[in-house]
């Protein structure tokens, strides 16, 4: 992968990068205004092309969707929060303190249940990388904005190799940061919290590492999932 990162803008806009290239380019995109502009232009180009193909969805879909919308709160935009007037900041601070108190009462197991039970939680199906195909049946990443927490739910996960453990990574613009170790139970299930500063837009990855974990991944990622995607 020796391409100039700028040249990945077109395949990125087409969703035609594999998971690793994509994670690499997303990190670059954060820093590169030129690529942000190029990607935005490619996306508008694709709107013109996509608009050629229209098909009316079945009439029932609208009704179902409007019912779902009526029951679903919107996210709070974090960039907008920074622009709030002081009185609103004070209220937000109070809410944050209350949330912290609530947080400390939640044991790890209860936090997991709370996230999985949050009706507004956002579930992403993690995509296996080439190395992850066949290693697990399904992995869901469940993110609760309200609880500021993300949970990985594994089904049909192989045991890690002898002397190995699975390690979760949080990728945020720079190097991957360790976000927890785990092993599946005998049935191949595991439900684990992703540790660290959880924010939408970050990527979660999982690798197999030597017992005790590593500071930086030594093995290839088995899956990636974007928080809140």
């Amino acid at each position: 992968m020796s391409d100039d990162l700028h040249e990945l803008a077109a395949p990125f806009a087409l969703d035609s990068l594999d998971d690793l290239e994509r994670a690499r380019f997303v990190r670059h995109l954060d820093q590169c205004e030129e690529c942000q502009g190029t990607v935005a232009e490619f996306r508008e180009t694709l709107v013109s092309i996509a608009a050629m193909t229209r098909e009316a969805p079945p009439p029932g879909l609208k009704k179902q969707l409007l019912e779902a919308v009526a029951a679903t709160p919107q996210v709070v935009d974090r960039t907008a929060r920074r622009r709030m007037p002081w009185s609103a900041v004070a209220v937000a601070a109070l809410v944050a303190v209350l949330a912290l108190i609530g947080w400390s009462i939640l044991s790890p197991g209860r936090l997991i249940n709370a996230v999985l039970g949050d009706p507004a939680a956002l579930t992403t199906l993690a995509a296996p990388t080439d190395n992850g195909v066949g290693v697990f049946d399904q992995v869901r990443l469940v993110y609760s904005e309200k609880l500021d927490a993300a949970i990985l739910v594994f089904e049909g996960l192989d045991r890690p190799g002898e002397g190995q453990t699975y390690e979760i990574w949080l990728i945020d613009g720079t190097d991957p940061v360790p976000a927890g170790l785990f092993r599946p139970d005998d049935s191949g299930s595991a439900t684990v919290r992703v540790k660290g500063d959880i924010r939408p837009g970050l990527t979660v990855a999982v690798t197999a590492e030597p017992e005790g974990g590593a500071d930086l991944p030594t093995g290839p990622p088995l899956l990636t999932a974007d928080i809140g995607a």
Binding site: L46, M52, L66, D77, V133
Partner: protein, 183 residues
């Protein structure tokens, strides 16, 4: 054509205006479903993904920033990503099934149905697509409508991945240049 009306509606929705959502649905659902259907093909699964995407549009609308792109671009980016993710996770499931024995989970593919879902094609955009070489158009279509990575396209066509990367990049640059004048 899908345009600034969609952006205006999405801005209203981003401020929590529930009244604007049915209008936004009317403006974009045909294009979203058309795109998702073309990628996923299976009708039931396409309906499911369309509904998920449009609910995400509602949920995430406060994050939409109209200074960074159009409403239609924001919505279709989300729709495309979702549809491609679905196709890829189906594909990896099928690959694993294939290791076990004969596949019983073929992706439904009915050529007659496929032509039926292709509706009116705008002459200007068709003309822009015609400025691409056949090889460029093929690579872009395999990426955009089949959800293939560049490596998968290279494997499918038996061509070096570097050639595919060049075709996609040059093709997209040309399309952008040609279509810029139309907006």
């Amino acid at each position: 054509m899908i345009g600034s009306a969609v952006t205006d509606l999405l801005v209203r929705v981003s401020r929590g205006d529930r009244e604007a959502f049915p209008d936004l649905y009317d403006a974009v659902s045909g294009v979203v479903f058309g795109l998702v259907r073309r990628i996923i093909r299976d009708r039931g699964m396409s309906e499911e993904v369309t509904q998920e995407v449009l609910l995400e549009v509602w949920r995430n609308a406060p994050r939409f920033d109209p200074t960074r792109g159009s409403g239609a671009g924001w919505i279709l980016t989300m729709a495309h990503r979702r549809a491609v993710d679905r196709v890829r996770s189906e594909q990896s499931g099928r690959d694993r099934m294939a290791q076990l024995g004969p596949s019983q989970t073929e992706r439904p593919h009915d050529p007659a149905e496929e032509s039926a879902i292709r509706e009116a094609e705008s002459g200007a955009i068709r003309a822009a697509l015609d400025t691409l070489s056949d090889a460029q158009r093929q690579a872009i279509e395999l990426a955009y409508y089949e959800g293939l990575t560049q490596t998968q396209i290279a494997e499918r066509l038996g061509i070096p991945v570097g050639t595919i990367k060049t075709r996609i990049r040059d093709g997209m640059l040309r399309l952008r240049q040609t279509l810029e004048g139309l907006r």
